[in-house]
């Protein structure tokens, strides 16, 4: 799975949680700046795990500053 596919899935999941269209989400913003709460983050992580079939370390995931960085990290994890 490449970075662009992962980015699309990630933006869709964030969009579902914070009720902003995917196109309006700033992919250079951090999750914290997007206002993702703990429960919303857990939902996003859980859905990503299922959709990407990846064992994701949630803390590692959110160490990245932007949606773009997270997508790149997950693409590397998927390829590993």
């Amino acid at each position: 799975m490449n970075k662009e596919t992962i980015r699309t899935v990630l933006l869709q999941e964030i969009s579902t949680e914070i009720a902003i269209p995917p196109a309006d989400i700033d992919d250079q913003a951090s999750f914290m700046r997007l206002g993702v709460s703990s429960v919303q983050a857990l939902k996003i992580i859980s859905r990503l795990r299922k959709q990407l079939d990846l064992d994701i370390n949630p803390v590692a995931l959110f160490e990245f500053k932007t949606v773009d960085d997270i997508s790149e990290y997950l693409a590397e994890e998927a390829a590993a």
Binding site: S37, S38, V39, L42, N57, P58, V59, E63
Partner: protein
Amino acid sequence: MTVSQTVSRNLAYHERVSRVLPGGVHYNFNMPWAEVPLHFVDGTGSRLRDLDGNEYLDLYARFGAMVLGHRNQEYLDALSEAMQRVLCVSHCDFDADALELMNTHIPSAEMVRFGLSGTEILQTALRLARAHTGRNRFLRFENHYHGNADNVMGGRVLDPARPVPVDFRGDYKGTAGRATDVMADQSYLLPWNDPERLETFFHEYGETLAAVLTEPICVNGGSIEPLPGFLELLRRLCTEYGVVLIFDEMITGVRLGVGGAQKLLGITPDLSTFGKAIGGGGVPVSAVVGKREIMTLLESKQVIHAGTYNGYPLGTAAVKATFEILSRDDEALLREMHRRAAALQDILTIEAHEVGLPLVVQGPPGVSAFHCRATPLERPSDYDFELMGKDIILATAMQRHGVLISSISRMYPNAQLSSDDLDFFQPRARRAVAEAKQSIDDIYGP
């Protein structure tokens, strides 16, 4: 207000402080989200009121420090008297009472030194252990917490044959900016409650150890109690190999009794560190206590322990008042606090079972934690992120309904916890577990 509190003033205030205060908070771990902190305006007993006028039952108790309850008049009178008399001197006439009370009640406290924070006093204990043994390394255990210093935070072991902790991406107790190799050069990391691993480790590395650090009850790892014989084995091995056994009683401290967990469990360490609740909840005080033969390294000035506010009058007055209040009538207030805390735990368990949410409360009342699973955790290393996620969901639901829970799912009562507080808790717990069950089912499946 009981449900869906309005927090608009809190949000606005958070915006204001965040312009100057990083993250809008005074402390942080590497958790992957941000919660808007509540800003409180007053408190009485077990209740707090925030900027928006919402009322809460305070089981957060500032990480367990607030053991006497808000606005405890006897405690406030003692602090006021101290403030009126003398504030900023190196020694005052509260010292002897505070020191003797700790010496009387805590089994390992042959001698006592005061500091300010848990992080700082733990490092003093390590320094004493190194000076006493002439060795450098110490052993600590997975998912225990010993403060915010580079050499004791998080980490994981890559090679169990040589169990040195190293940094890893995704460590919520880790940090950027740590001094290079500080953990690997100084320490080992083992799973707790694993007697076989412990014995094998000691046979290989025991003679290189200055100290073993452990919480006597692993509150930070999920309020997990030691398996029968585990601490006895640790005590025996430390004695056999000449290693200083250090109990970190920062949380268990006076919450389980004025003698700490060590008195309750009947195991006497060589050194112990205390903090949080020993100052009653209003002022910071920590203490390292221990065997005379080790503590006299401070008397001979071979070991340095410095700090401008060490032993400050307001702190020693707070320790004196706290130990006097809690030890009175054979610790009557603490016994009552434990009884009510047990009743509160029963309410939560019953309400969870009513809605079909698997839930267990473990650990002694006073330092217990709930977990959204059917059976108690046996080892701190079993407290994985999925379970933490479920516990966080319930804890945040409780907050929305007016009950504050300490991270991640600890419930710290105070000496003023009342039957009214239990009545306040029950309907809120009912709504919170129902809401949490729905979220947990949504995320993890029923």
